[in-house]
């Protein structure tokens, strides 16, 4: 490109221009028909022509409302100005103006967060969302954009904090692609080092004009399809690689989450695993989920914490402002002040050397705590009165200190002195120092550098252009060798291999003012900010790509990798994206593909890319050549949701309403094998080795099409559900089947199914992939999880009962937990071994080779024991057993596991020796309660695993005993025998035994109640959660359609129906769990109301026969719930199957038996119920009633209808639970 030096014309433009020449003037066919030599000459001629032509001849693509890139030769600039001369309509709008530094990591230097300032000729009045700060706030979308107050001559200007060499500007009108008006069509970009001399670096002069239909637009016609009538820009897009944002996940805790204060001064971890957070409002202990605050109310006299040190001997040292030094150990504190010899009552920094001496830096010099007293300060130098900001001890046990903003050191027993080998006075204003693991001593301060002392020499890392290093307040070297610097106002900087990367509020940090840094034992970096609370920064295990990273649309539906290694991404009506050589960009193939709802993709063996769309038929793309084939009828075409090659140059297509179709030589034919039967949507297709095809359907189970013969597998064959969402055939020919109700494996014709009961975190399996180490990966509605294939083998072989599933979700970097399902292929393994999952919010990548596993078993702690709601003091009972008095009603244990990476994924198991034989799977619950424990000795044991399923098998345990009442003791037994030696004594004993037995029984019953609660919790999640998700999605769709009133209104009414459904579901759950409703009367009320409401919209009249006065009968929550579900199911059957015009619901108490009769005057049901199929309902009713100890009678007659009678014996006593 030498001859173009000095010109801004980028190489890419030449290439595009050449492509367009080839495409337009010389049709591909003509070009291809030339002989190779001629081709070469021809190409050379074109290249030469390109080089010799004046630059104006090679026009760039027209401006695009979404994103435009201006590249130019690097130029030094302090100011950059974007001046607009004309727009397609209205005053110009700019959604984010990004300016990239030419050197170092490509980094947007226009960001306000990086210190850049924006100025403009004027902003449109009256719109809060269109103010100037929208231009460089790092946030995309019309809602955060700038609109000028005029058209011609409007300008916006960015002033960089330092003169910076830049080479690229990226701008757009609406990065989210919803608006296309107010687009700058004539503009100029200029730079200057001072505001007098401007130099133009880019303009619209070399761009093609806008296409005609995009030029004159009215407000009403701003639609997505029009956005994409604009010329393609996809090929020139590039996303700046290496952005720190995609590498780290940041979580934030603030006072609202329980932190005592938002200014964090110190973070430390004690050997028991707890994290301690020092704030200006007190000290808090943190287990990853809950803060336990030690403040004024507790033993700590002063709440302004300045520094923390976890001492080797187990003491937590707390340096305070004005309150001296506090040592905290085993729940006891000791306070040391000037009276004890401390130099000042304000302690700014703490360090401990190998001999165990604690060094306390104060504004009045250094103190040393040795063998339970402070050492005479004279020996320590420097002159007392020096303000010590930092102390640290390096690997060779040398003490370093920052005194009066100078770096000093102390070898052996001497005083603090200037370090040897370099002159520390050239590094004044030092604010932070850190002794690195590698032996380096890091320091930094206000002058924009980081120094590293090693072997008496200093290496200095200076800020790079665009990498403003501000005052450094904190430094921390992590185990992997990265150095992190916390700055006063610019967030975090990571120094790795001599290069800086920044992590600021733009990437999710809560505040750019970083006060302290800490790396915990599992490698998470904790960041304390001044005013923004606590942040946890951890590397993402998963990489999520969203529109921020260059994806065209966030709802990803389908994936394919072509022969050249390009990953194609189809979205839900947001077009196609492509990832090529690590660069992800929207593929604006609108003039190629005129449908944007890409629901299925397939890379053909011949190099074609096939796209099945919603309503637009099937597309075949080969390079720039695109063919479109209707699948059903043009205009309103059948959605294609699954694609698969048939091995003979044709395709199989799964469609929504038309079932399976075959495509060959441009013709579509019906391949639905089962004529006459209901057609189910075909959601997944997998080729079987010999000529076979597996067809997954939604509702019709799994089908195998083999030489024209069709075999169907459904629930009766052992599939967990007939709704198939994903298929995967592994290397051994085993077929894995993901359904809406669990996973199934088909091996040699045998089906094994796996559900939550086998340890799956979710049962909606939408995507199945396999890595190179025989792990299976699943995309579900709860994120992604991984299970080793052999674990399923173990279950199928009866050797295990549960799999150990490792879950990945938001904590690991997903933006939404919901993986797309019902489209094929929605998940993909690329040839490099990476796994790709489509989700409703972005594309998720897993590199299974590099995924780190947290091998550290978490410490387990029983934090609290409560008896009858009162806390039992445990501080001084280490080792000895607790003893509870007679008659204690309820013993409760609260425990935690100290793995802080993703505490919400820590799981627990517990067992009460003396009562239980087996471990109870408590999942993520951190409390266990035992009501009515009979007297005896017990050991409560709890173990936990970390986020990667690594268990601490030793766990924690607490011994305790429950003392008997005097009549329960052996002593009493004996004396009773002695004293009564007869009938009286025997009777007492018998009563006691019976009582004990009853008590034990009750404990077991209570336990089943707790299981019931777990189930109810799941109901809440499933029923409410599903509806709320639906509402959220509907709202998003509504926003998309906001310019189409009819669709919005249809949307709104759907939202309102769904919301009411959610409230109804909630009502039912609330009723089910509220113990106030535990009576027969209440049950009757509820059932009658339910029935009324249920039949109101139907044509069936509901008659009730419920006595006004029902006897007082307690009905346990469980009984009530099951009974209700049984009645509900019966009423459902009436509506669904009976064709009745009247139904009677009768309820009676008769001889201690509750009788419920549901009768209708419909057509009756066939006698074949109970065999599965359509009468699942009846089976369920029978099972529920039998589980409750009742029975079930069914009479059915085509002439008189169906009558179902439920009998349930109820205990005669008035109080079932009292004692």
């Amino acid at each position: 490109m030498g001859c173009l030096a000095g010109s801004w014309l980028p190489e890419i433009a030449v290439r595009m221009w050449m492509e367009s020449c080839l495409r337009r003037e010389f049709p591909a066919l003509a070009y291809a028909s030339l002989k190779p030599v001629t081709q070469l000459i021809f190409t050379l001629a074109l290249v030469l022509a390109a080089f010799s032509l004046p630059t104006a001849a090679a026009l760039r693509e027209p401006v695009h409302p979404r994103r435009n890139v201006e590249e130019f030769a690097p130029v030094e600039a302090k100011f950059l100005r974007f001046t607009i001369r004309a727009t397609n309509r209205g005053e110009p709008c700019l959604d984010e103006l990004e300016v990239y530094a030419a050197e170092g990591l490509a980094r947007n230097v226009a960001l306000a967060a990086n210190g850049a300032r924006a100025q403009a000729s004027g902003s449109m009045q009256g719109y809060g969302i269109h103010q100037l700060e929208g231009i460089n706030d790092g946030r995309y979308g019309n809602g955060r954009s700038w609109i000028a107050d005029r058209i011609d001559g409007a300008w916006v200007q960015i002033e960089f904090p330092l003169p910076t060499r830049i080479n690229k500007v990226v701008w757009g009108r609406d990065r989210e692609g919803n608006f296309i008006d107010r687009l700058a069509t004539q503009y100029e970009i200029q730079v200057a080092t001072d505001t007098n001399i401007w130099r133009t670096v880019a303009s619209s002069a070399d761009r093609e004009p806008l296409p005609a239909e995009a030029k004159s637009i009215s407000g009403a016609s701003i639609t997505r399809s029009l956005v994409n009538r604009f010329a393609p820009v996809g090929t020139t897009l590039s996303v700046e690689a290496g952005q720190a944002s995609s590498d780290y996940r940041i979580d934030v805790w603030q006072t609202a989450d329980g932190l005592p204060g938002n200014t964090i001064t110190a973070i430390e971890q004690t050997s028991d695993g707890y994290l301690w957070i020092g704030t200006l409002n007190g000290l808090a202990r943190f287990d990853g989920l809950r803060f336990q605050v030690f403040g004024e109310a507790s033993e700590l006299p002063n709440t302004r914490v300045l520094c923390l040190l976890a001492g080797r001997e187990g003491t937590l040292w707390i340096g305070t402002e004005g309150g001296g030094l506090i040592g905290l150990r085993d729940g006891r504190s000791r306070s040391l002040t000037r009276l004890d010899g401390l130099r000042s009552d304000t302690v700014t920094t703490l360090a401990q050397d190998r001999s165990g001496q604690v060094w306390a830096g104060t504004p009045a010099g250094l103190s040393c705590w040795r063998e339970d007293k402070f050492v005479q300060p004279t020996a320590l130098g420097p002159p007392s009165g020096s303000s010590i900001l930092v102390t640290c001890v390096d690997g060779s046990n040398t003490l370093w200190a920052v005194a009066d903003n100078q770096l000093l050191t102390r070898s052996s027993e001497g005083p603090l002195a200037k370090p040897r080998g370099f002159d520390p006075s050239s590094f004044s204003s030092v604010l932070a120092a850190e002794a690195g693991r590698s032996g380096q001593l890091w320091f930094g301060g206000v002058n924009g550098y980081i120094g590293a002392v090693s072997n008496e020499t200093v290496r200095v890392y200076r800020e790079q252009p665009g990498q403003l290093l501000e005052a450094i307040w904190a430094l921390r070297e992590t185990r992997n060798g990265d150095l992190w610097a916390g700055t006063a106002n610019g967030g975090l900087r990571r120094l790795r291999h001599g290069h800086f990367t920044s992590l600021t509020t733009q990437e999710g940090l809560s505040d750019n003012s970083v006060r302290c840094l800490f790396e915990d034992s599992e490698g998470s970096l904790w960041v304390g900010t001044a005013g923004g609370g606590l942040n946890r920064v951890k590397p993402r295990k998963l990489t999520t790509f969203t529109t921020r990273d260059g994806l065209a649309h966030n709802v990803v539906m389908s994936l394919a990798e072509d022969l050249e290694g390009t990953l194609w991404i189809g979205s839900n009506c947001g077009g196609l994206s492509a990832r090529r050589n690590g660069v992800l960009a929207p593929y604006y193939a609108n003039y190629l593909l005129d449908n944007e709802c890409i629901w299925s993709l397939l890379s053909g063996r011949d190099g074609s890319l096939w796209a099945g769309t919603w309503g637009g038929g099937l597309f075949q793309m080969r390079g720039r050549e695109v063919k479109n084939f209707p699948v059903a009828r043009p205009g309103n075409d059948e959605p294609v949701v699954a694609l698969c090659e048939d091995g003979h140059g044709g395709l199989w297509m799964g469609t929504m309403q038309g079932g399976l179709k075959s495509f060959r030589d441009g013709n579509v034919s019906d391949a639905q094998p089962s004529k006459g039967k209901p057609v189910h949507p075909v959601t997944a297709l997998v080729q079987e080795a010999r000529e076979g095809l597996w067809v997954g359907t939604s509702g019709g189970g799994l089908q195998l099409l083999e030489r024209g013969r069709l075999t169907t597998f459904g629930r009766r064959d052992g599939l967990p559900s007939d709704f198939i969402r994903a298929l995967h055939r592994d290397a051994n020919g085993v077929l894995w089947i993901g359904t809406g109700g669990g996973l199934a494996r088909m091996q040699e014709g045998k089906i094994a199914s796996f559900t939550r009961s086998q340890g799956l975190p979710d049962e909606v399996i939408s995507q199945i992939l396999e890595d190179d180490r025989t792990n299976l990966w699943f995309g579900c509605n709860q994120g992604i999880f991984r299970v080793a294939a052999r674990e399923f083998e173990a279950i199928a072989g009866g050797k295990a009962s549960r799999v150990n599933a490792i879950s990945y979700g938001r904590a690991e970097g997903m933006e939404s937990l919901e993986c797309t399902g019902g489209f094929y292929p929605a998940g993909l393994k690329t040839r490099d071994g990476n796994l790709w999952f489509s989700t409703v919010k972005g594309l998720v990548m897993v590199d299974p080779h590099n995924i780190s596993v947290n091998e550290k078993p978490p410490p387990v702690v029983v934090e609290q024991v409560l008896t009858d709601g009162m806390e039992v003091p445990m501080a001084n009972t280490a080792g000895s057993a607790l003893e509870f008095g007679p008659g204690v009603q309820r013993v409760e244990f609260r425990f935690t596991a100290l793995s802080l990476v993703a505490p919400e994924r820590n799981r627990f198991k517990h067992r009460l020796d003396g009562l239980e034989k087996d471990w109870v799977e408590a999942e993520t619950q951190r409390v266990a309660a035992y009501p009515h424990l009979p007297p005896g000795r017990y050991i409560f044991r709890v173990k936990a695993c970390n986020n990667d399923g690594v268990w601490n098998e030793a766990g924690a345990s607490i011994r305790f005993s429950v003392r008997p009442h005097f009549w329960q003791s052996r002593w009493f037994d004996a004396s009773a025998l002695i004293v009564f030696l007869g009938v009286g004594g025997l009777m007492v004993r018998l009563t006691a035994v019976r009582r004990l037995r009853r008590k034990l029984q009750r404990v077991l019953e209570q336990h089943s109640v707790e299981q019931e609660r777990t189930r109810i919790a799941r109901d809440i999640h499933d029923e409410l959660g599903a509806n709320l998700t639906r509402i959220a999605l509907l709202t998003e769709v509504g926003q998309k359609h906001r310019h189409k009133p009819e669709e919005v209104s249809a949307n709104l009414s759907q939202i309102s129906v769904t919301a009411r459904e959610a409230v109804r579901a909630m009502d039912a759950i609330v009723w089910a769990v509220n113990p106030r409703n535990d009576s027969l009367d209440n049950f009757a009320n509820y059932v009658s109301q339910f029935a009324e409401e249920f039949f109101r919209p139907t044509s069936i009249r509901c008659r009730l026969d419920i006595p006004a006065d029902l006897p007082e009968h307690p009905l346990s929550t469980e009984t009530r719930h099951h009974l209700f579900l049984a009645v509900k199911e019966a009423l459902h059957n009436v509506v669904q199957h009976s064709s009745a015009s009247e139904v009677w619901l009768r309820l009676r108490m008769d001889e201690g038996e509750l009788k419920i009769n549901i009768a209708d005057n419909g057509k009756g049901i066939a006698a074949s119920f109970g065999q599965g199929g359509g009468h699942d309902g009846l089976v369920n009713i029978r099972r529920r009633i039998e589980d409750l100890g009742g029975s079930f009678d069914l009479k059915s007659d085509p002439s008189s209808g169906t009558s179902l009678l439920l009998h349930l014996p109820l205990p005669k006593t008035g109080k079932a639970w009292g004692s």
Binding site: D1067, V1070, S1088, Q1089, E1092, R1103, L1104, I1106
Partner: protein, 210 residues
Amino acid sequence: MGFLSIRVAIVEDDKQVRENLAHLIGEAAGFECVATFSSGEEALELWPRRRPDVVVMDINLPGISGVECVRQLKSLAPDIHIVMLTVYDDSDRIFRALEMGASGYLLKRSTTEGILQAIEEVHRGGAPMSSYIARKVVQSFRRQGASDKGVENLSKRETDVLEYISRGYTNKEIAEALGLSAETVRGYLKAVYSKLHVRSRTEAAIKFRR
């Protein structure tokens, strides 16, 4: 907003629910939302200025409860109609509100039409009653009616009507079954409500005397 519009007031502590309800009612033809109150206290203090025909009242209010507010409002303005709003069926509280003089109840999840219909019905003097409320009424009269002096009991016909309602029959069907006009059936139901109300007041009076 002609002079025939039904004047509705809303007592509801949730601002969003209150404002949305006010908006929906205000928009509907034949209805006018004349006041919104965020608490029972506010309603009791300010209602006379607005003179609502129908008050839609949340049963779960901060401060004085919805039930208590009904009692006091009814004693200040016996002609006012009150419809209770509940989140889920809280049968005891609903029944107590009815005893205190409320004329009906609504679930918050009801559709706009459902809400407007209920307001219109109580305004016309109707006494909407569901099968389970009917059962409760019969129950309560049967249990206590006989024992307390000075408390009027239900008539035979009123009891009959209630029994039918509790079995899921509509007013029209009851009219047919008993050979009455639908209007008469409604009259019986109104009588039942007022007896219920009178009874609860009498009971309260008896309690005070003790």
